[in-house]
């Protein structure tokens, strides 16, 4: 354990990170992707949807990432693709967290038949194959990026509900909650003060995990042509289009795949690190 010269001990989170370089890698990757996404208009050398050059050029000057099958700048598309992936991921997970998390807390809090109904509804949603459900929702709502996010959000909500329910049930059953209620604490206070702190850690971990899978789900939907609308640059859409050219121009197939891998891996590693950090029950030997 190193001690800073000023005499203060190194904070817990820094120690945890040092013990867990994987999480550090994850945080770095996610950070990089977020920065790229935020700075996209400044960073990207060209308009990501403009067909300005000869198609299928390998990386070189002036297109550092080469060009895709329609003659668009690959590098710009990769950069803007970060935006779409994060946008889809964040909004879909926000919906899932909002809808699912609230349902789970409500289920755990009220218990009884409310709990039963809520969990059965979640079971119903669980039994539908996720991808097909997402496809159905997107087809019904119409093809647009927003609807893709809504679809993914709905598909993920049950997972969040389940995760929120467990700790809520555990807390609500504790005797001091009854005592608090007897003392006149309102439901709102109980939830805010007692339930939320217990629930936030697992929800946070699940959020990072779901962010990663949301990106993969968007890629799968785009593979089937039912995700992002062309000509918007999304990594999933780029992969799907590159399928036809894999031996003609491997770059347009490899680069978006790597981008997805780095981002998703980053979120996953970060999630693991957060879980290690926040879960007080975990100790290493």
């Amino acid at each position: 354990m190193s001690e800073a010269p000023s005499g203060r001990r190194t904070p817990r989170w820094l120690r945890a990170l040092r013990r867990n370089p994987a999480a550090l890698i994850g945080a770095a990757a996610v950070g990089a992707v977020v920065c790229v996404a935020l700075a996209a208009p400044v960073l990207a050398p060209h308009d990501p949807v403009a067909q300005i050059a000869t198609p299928l050029r390998p990386p070189g000057h002036p297109h550092l990432g080469g060009t895709d099958e329609l003659g668009r700048d690959e590098l710009s598309r990769l950069i803007f693709g970060a935006r779409v992936s994060l946008y889809v991921g964040v909004l879909a997970v926000a919906i899932a967290l909002g809808v699912g998390g609230t349902s789970g807390i409500a289920a755990g809090f009220y218990g009884g038949w409310v709990d039963n109904i809520a969990m059965r509804v979640m079971d119903v949603l669980f039994s539908l194959p996720a991808l097909v459900l997402a496809i159905a929702i997107t087809s019904i709502l119409g093809p647009s990026l927003t609807n893709v996010m809504i679809a993914i959000g709905i598909v993920y909500a049950p997972t969040f509900a389940r995760i929120a329910r467990g700790p809520t049930l555990a807390v609500v059953g504790l005797p001091y909650i009854e005592a608090a209620r007897a003392l006149g604490a309102s439901n709102r206070i109980i939830v805010l003060r007692h339930v939320l702190p217990n629930v936030s850690a697992p929800l946070l971990v699940q959020t990072t995990v779901s962010l990663s899978t949301a990106i993969l789900t968007e890629a799968a939907l785009s593979f089937l042509g039912l995700g992002t609308q062309p000509p918007t640059a999304s990594w999933g859409l780029m992969l799907s289009a590159a399928r036809q050219y894999m031996l003609i121009d491997p770059w347009i197939a490899v680069l978006p795949g790597c981008a997805i891998a780095v981002t998703v891996l980053g979120f996953n590693l970060l999630g693991d690190g957060l879980r290690d950090l926040l879960d007080p029950r975990i100790r290493t030997l």
């Binding site: 949807v49 403009a50 067909q51 000869t54 198609p55 299928l56 099958e69 329609l70 003659g71 496809i135 997107t138 087809s139 093809p143 089937l224 042509g225 039912l226 609308q229 062309p230 000509p231 289009a241 399928r243 036809q244 050219y245 894999m246 031996l247 003609i248």
Partner: protein
């Protein structure tokens, strides 16, 4: 009778101009392949009996009912099993099939077919006039819901003169009727009463060179040689198995690994084969016209100047390069290569993009600042998505904001149908699609552009062209018809109620062991019955 062009006689200069315009890599697409097939055939030797062909089918037929299907993959599934009164030869001329000869009388309103004797169905029974009457009436029956009924709709009465002679009386002359039978979309002859006894979607009893051995939807379809086929020397193969592989990478892998001896490929797929050993590739233009349907009832698309200006802004060769990797030729309403019905691609307008002219025209029509609209397409056909994106890009230069809406196939078809049914009020503005083979030039024109046509997008109504279209579909003099259709096509190209882009190449990869195969302008695998395996 109509005459059609042959793949070998296709104009090479036009091909070059169409395919190589953008100077990109076109690995594998060279002219030598066109004549390679002919050369190979010459060196093949005499046909040999035996062997099973293993092939890949790119889209599941879904249903083998020869009367109720609209998808081309269904035709590809049942075309080896069923036949009709007439058929096609290698040059896409109508030739006798189940009818040996026929007479046309009464001003083209009566057809008398003399059936081929001793033709056996796959269940052993002999084909007679009863079966012909039953089959045609089934197509005409609204309960069957045949999407191609319109091709035979003029038949008002079918009379059985004797067991080998059928007479059909029409409402009016139908010069493409014999082609309608040959095209086999809704004209297969099936045993009388078969549809009431069997589920024709997965069972088939026809007269064709191959019998249906097994159809497992979404997996494979197996055919066995029909030993009692009326053409005694055919087929040569003992059987064929078509494995359904929707992913082209998997088809390519199977070809490379020698697992399959035949597959249909895209130009990109061929480029990835990189001259793999033991595989030869045949390419020829075929009846597949890529186009955009335009809802002419919606402002500003109701103004021909606007439609023309938008078309002028797009470079046809760029579309060809990016949508099908160069494997197509520019085309008008009737696909290039369709006998002498189609326009010479060298004479087609819009060969090069003309932005200045388009801007002027648009301003003249009252839209100097452009406008916004939607173009719908489906990822079921990536080439249409690509062509739509090129269009979108080009329209930006006219300040037109074209939103690309990519829809799942069912939703796309539903939207298009809605647009047609509501006369253009709902459903959409522009749809990316294609026309496949039609039995005659009329099929590309009348249903879409006649004022009361059944698939008229938005109610296109041109009082000058209406009588021309009506006339062209009812006279039988070939030259007169031809000059009418030339005039109609030129007018349509100027008015642009659709945008027509290209006629795509049909690209088929075959193992070098396969001999005797010929491509067909119809895009079908008509000549697998004449194919044999060497060695």
């Amino acid at each position: 009778m109509a005459r059609f062009g042959s793949p070998e006689r296709f104009d090479r200069r036009t091909f070059l101009r169409g395919g190589l315009a953008l100077g990109g890599t076109l690995a594998g697409l060279d002219l030598a392949d066109l004549s390679r097939a002919a050369a190979l055939a010459a060196a093949a030797g005499p046909p040999k009996r035996g062997g099973t062909l293993v092939a890949a089918q790119e889209v599941d037929p879904v249903s083998l009912d020869p009367h109720t299907n609209s998808n081309f993959s269904a035709l590809q599934g049942y075309e080896h099993i069923y036949e009709s009164l007439t058929g096609y030869d290698e040059k896409t001329n109508v030739v006798p099939a189940l009818a040996e000869k026929w007479e046309i009388s009464n001003g083209g309103k009566t057809y008398t077919f003399h059936l081929r004797p001793n033709v056996k169905f796959h269940n052993g029974q002999t084909m007679t006039a009863d079966d012909v009457k039953y089959s045609v009436e089934r197509v005409l029956d609204p309960k069957t819901a045949s999407p191609w009924r319109d091709w035979l709709i003029l038949i008002k009465e079918i009379k059985i003169i004797d067991p080998m002679t059928v007479q059909m009386n029409l409402e009016g002359p139908s010069p493409d009727l014999l082609g309608a039978f040959a095209a086999l979309r809704a004209s297969a002859i099936i045993p009388k009463g078969l549809a009431d006894r069997e589920n024709l979607k997965i069972k088939a009893v026809g007269t064709g060179p191959f019998k249906l051995a097994e159809y497992v939807p979404q997996d494979h379809i197996t055919y066995a040689r029909n030993a009692d086929y009326w053409d005694k020397s055919l087929p040569y193969l003992d059987g064929m198995t078509f494995k359904i592989l929707t992913e082209e990478n998997t088809r390519l892998a199977a070809l490379r690994a020698g697992q399959i001896q035949y597959a249909t490929l895209t130009a990109q797929g061929v480029a990835q084969l990189e001259n793999a050993s033991g595989i030869s590739v045949m390419k020829a233009p075929n009846a597949w016209v890529a186009l955009h349907y335009i809802n002419v009832s919606k402002k500003p698309l109701d103004d021909a100047r606007v439609r023309r200006a938008m078309r002028m802004a797009v470079d046809t060769n760029e579309v060809i390069q990016k949508a099908v990797y160069g494997a197509a030729v520019p085309s008008g309403p009737i696909p290039t290569g369709y006998g002498d019905w189609s326009l010479d691609p060298k004479t087609l307008p819009y060969a090069k993009a003309d932005i200045e002219g388009a801007k002027k025209l648009l301003a003249e029509a009252g839209y100097p600042n452009g406008f916004r609209l939607e173009i719908k397409c489906s990822p079921q056909y990536p080439e249409f998505v690509a062509s739509t994106l090129v269009v979108q890009q080009s329209l930006r230069r006219l300040n037109i904001d074209a939103q690309v809406v990519q829809m799942e196939w069912g939703s796309f078809v539903a939207a298009h149908n809605q647009e047609i049914r509501t006369g253009g009020k709902e459903g959409g503005e522009i749809f990316a699609s294609a026309n496949t083979f039609r039995p005659g030039p009329d099929g590309y024109i009348y249903p879409y552009f006649f004022s009361k046509g059944s698939i008229n997008d938005g109610g296109y109504d041109n009082p000058r062209l209406d009588p021309l279209m009506a006339q062209a579909r009812s006279i039988t003099n070939h030259d007169q018809r031809r000059s009418l259709y030339v005039e109609i096509q030129r007018a349509l190209l100027a008015e642009s109620p659709n945008w027509w882009w290209y006629a795509k190449f049909n690209i088929e990869a075959l193992s070098s062991k396969l001999q005797g195969y010929r491509q067909s302008f119809t895009g079908r695998r008509l000549f697998l019955k004449k194919t044999w395996i060497n060695g």
